[in-house]
Amino acid sequence: MSDEPIVQMTGITKDFTGVRALDGVDFTLRPGEIHAIMGENGAGKSTLIKVLTGVHSPDAGRILLDGEPVRFHSPGHAQAGGVSTVYQEVNLTENLSVAENLFAGREPRLGPFINFRAMRRRAAALMSDIGVDLNVAAPLSSYSIATQQLVAIARAVDIESKVLILDEPTSSLDREEVAVLMRVMRRLADSGTALVFISHFLEQVYGICDRMTVLRNGRLVGEWATADLPENELIGHMLGREVEALAGIEQRTAEHEPAGAEPLLSATGLGRKGSIAPFDLEIHPGEVVGLAGLLGSGRTETARLIAGADRHDSGGLEFDGRRVTGHNPRTAAARGIGFCPENRKTEGLVGDLTVAENMILAMQASRGWARAVPPARRAELVAQFIAKLDIRPANPDLPVKNLSGGNQQKVLLARWLLIEPRLLILDEPTRGIDVGAKADIQRLVAELSDEGMSVLFISAELEEVTRLSDRIAVLRDRELIDVLHEESDMTTERIVDTIVTRGSAE
């Protein structure tokens, strides 16, 4: 490991029509290190990366790569210069094969033709190199998002970058896959590549990173060696004074015993072939039911069946004592079931529409197109929920795609809260959003349940599930294996235990 920096950014400033996204930020990256950039959403992490990779050009400041001043015009230009990026959203072509994705634009050739045989061979070698065994001739879309992510990383790895930037690569990976990724990262670092790692998962950052740079509100807070910065101090630096935000919700106890014997919703033998085995589940009024399990265990599938997003092919549902027929998103909404899907961008929000329009969508849908929500009432409702959920910027006429992840999630929540649902289904509402917004959403869930709303809550973070839930349904391999309800059972260890023991018993 040499101490000569590979990347040195000094005094980087970037304005977006009146908003200063970066203000004189310095960033130094040395060969062979894994360097985390930490900060809340909106702190300027992404902008800093985009300035480095040529997506944005800085308004002021200097970038040195290997001691030479550089200014990249585009990510492709940056990649040619040895700076590769793997983004949170997989930037690959789903209908091409894994091998084609890996070698797109630099295919092994046989004269004027692509040598597919060599391409597949090299692709298979590359994937097994990073410890993933898959059929490289199969289309990318046949693999999970997690696997697609690993393919994207394999591609970046193979391009032999001097600098590899990983922007939220782990947000859709399960534990095992994260371990694979970390192993790959460490090996790359040992071979001299400099890695930039951006993640909301503190334990991953502490597990792998040598050094961290902390940003807040577009300004540099400081740079530390990981060993010198304990977790609570890091959170302090990231949040400023709002450190106690998460602590307040910590002590949610199981005071919500199932109110009465009458469940609000009960699923009997509900299932869908190839997606989730038939299961029984009851949700009582005012109760928060958590769904826990690894990625791919059937959490989302369970939620989608209950929400009516997918059609079930076995069993049935009762809602409010009545048998549910013709279950689909529209009838579900009419019954008072709101569903915030896992993937905000592709299934939740309409990016081009404004914050206000996105919020009003479910209410308007239930009224039909001919009866518009009166403008005055709409403005009032939207203003009320922007204030209540602390959505920033508080401008109802901004296209929702311009908002940060946390604020987008709040807009999606507001859409359903507007119709005052009796059951709210939240699939990974806190994924990929900053600590502040996460706390807001957790607090909101607790509040809503206090007011009598039932919530079905999914999160990859077991801690979050245990903290919020009255009962936890545990899933494994597309099967609901147990429902934990004793207060003493509401621990991460207990859930992991359940998953492990049930799995080995079968």
């Binding site: 944005h56 929400a307 529409l353 849908a365 403005a379 401008n395 006429d397 296209p399």
Partner: protein, 362 residues
């Protein structure tokens, strides 16, 4: 709070104007070229035989059928769709109306009304059929509407029996294309009325927003509980009616219905007008006023070629050049590039343009 909302509303209006700015500049440039070449008489309307005339009024009058079709097309495109059958529906509308009047008393107001109603009803049915294919059977819009694009002219020929049915100049029917009310040509009145009706229909109800939602993100719209199928059928139905009405107007102007050539390639001009007007072919946000400006540009262009003394062979090339210019002007990348030498102080504006504008440029 109210103040803040007002300011936000203003921001929205500004964004809207910004979208319309480049098409408006191109239109203004075309008008200026014509005024320079032919004098102010080009734009100033004159009253002639109790009706408005003059070069520009005539352009608007002749553009009315294209306007109707383009407005319908705008709504279809907003749903991520496209309607290639409008030219054929134009021919069917014209054929039905003229054929109905052929053997009847053409001076009877009642017969004319029935002819128009019948043509519109058939156009509506075809539109609904297109919409049903797209929404309920999941056929890709370009394929679904291609069917009627090809079959439609054949159907029109079957209706007219391969002849060109004529309507007498004395019939009230021809007034739809040639007449004037209070000196204003009827086609212009109809164009304005349809424009106003569609703006009211989409913007005072929630139809416009739901359309944009369905076009912008179909899956999110489904999960939000929107009945997207019904809405999709409705837009194709509107597009069909607009095309039928355009055909009636065209036939009335000519006094006959030509199943082969009536409204030929008009669907392409309509798509062009929609794109020039700022509605992205990817669906989502739509701009009826922008489409109207796009139609005016296309209409003015054809006259400009003649006025500046180019031979009519230039017609297509010239249109292509103007479309090229409009597309470039709407591209943030191009504007950033062309303005680079002049931009020493306000640097770095270009990358902050919203993505939708980029999508539009493509």
């Amino acid at each position: 709070m109210i103040k803040a909302l007002d300011a936000a509303g203003e921001g929205k209006a500004n964004a809207y104007l910004k979208r319309l700015m480049w098409p408006l500049i191109v239109l203004a440039a075309l008008l200026i070229v014509n005024i320079v070449v032919t004098g102010f008489g080009f734009i100033v309307p004159e009253v002639h035989d109790g009706r408005l005339g003059g070069a520009f009024v005539n352009i608007l009058r002749r553009s009315a059928p294209l306007l109707l079709i383009s407005l319908g097309m705008t709504l279809v495109i907003a749903t991520k769709g496209i309607d290639l059958s409008v030219g054929a529906v134009y021919a069917i509308g014209a054929a039905v109306a003229c054929q109905f009047l052929l053997d009847r008393d053409q001076s009877s107001m009642q017969n004319v009304a029935v002819a128009v109603a019948l043509a519109l009803a058939i156009a509506a049915v075809i539109g609904a059929w297109n919409g049903t294919m797209v929404a309920y059977f999941g056929v890709q819009p370009i394929v679904a509407t291609l069917i009627f694009m090809i079959a439609g002219r054949g159907i029109a020929q079957l209706i007219t029996g391969g002849q060109i049915p004529n309507v007498a100049d004395s019939s009230p029917f021809v007034e739809i294309g040639r007449g004037a009310v209070a000196t204003v040509p009827v086609p212009i009145i109809i164009g304005v009325a349809v424009f106003a009706a569609l703006v009211l229909l989409t913007r005072t109800t929630a139809l416009g927003m739901l359309l944009e939602s369905v076009g912008g993100n179909p899956e999110a719209s489904r999960l939000a509980g929107i009945r997207s199928k019904g809405i999709t059928v409705l837009t194709y139905l509107i597009a069909g009616i607009c095309a039928g009405l355009a055909g009636i107007m065209g036939a009335a102007n000519l006094g006959s219905a030509d199943a082969n050539n009536g409204g030929l390639w008009i669907e392409l001009d309509a798509i062009l007008a929609v794109v020039i007007g700022g509605t992205a072919l990817l669906g989502g946000r739509f701009f009826l006023l922008g489409t109207t400006i796009g139609v005016a540009i296309i209409g003015t262009l054809e006259v400009t070629i003649i006025n500046v003394g180019l031979s009519s062979q230039w017609q297509f090339t010239d249109k292509a050049i103007v479309v090229f210019i409009v597309a470039l002007l709407q591209s943030p990348e191009f504007r950033a590039w062309i303005l680079k030498p002049f931009r020493s102080r306000g640097a770095g504006q270009a990358p902050t343009e919203p993505d939708s504008e980029k999508a539009l440029a493509k």
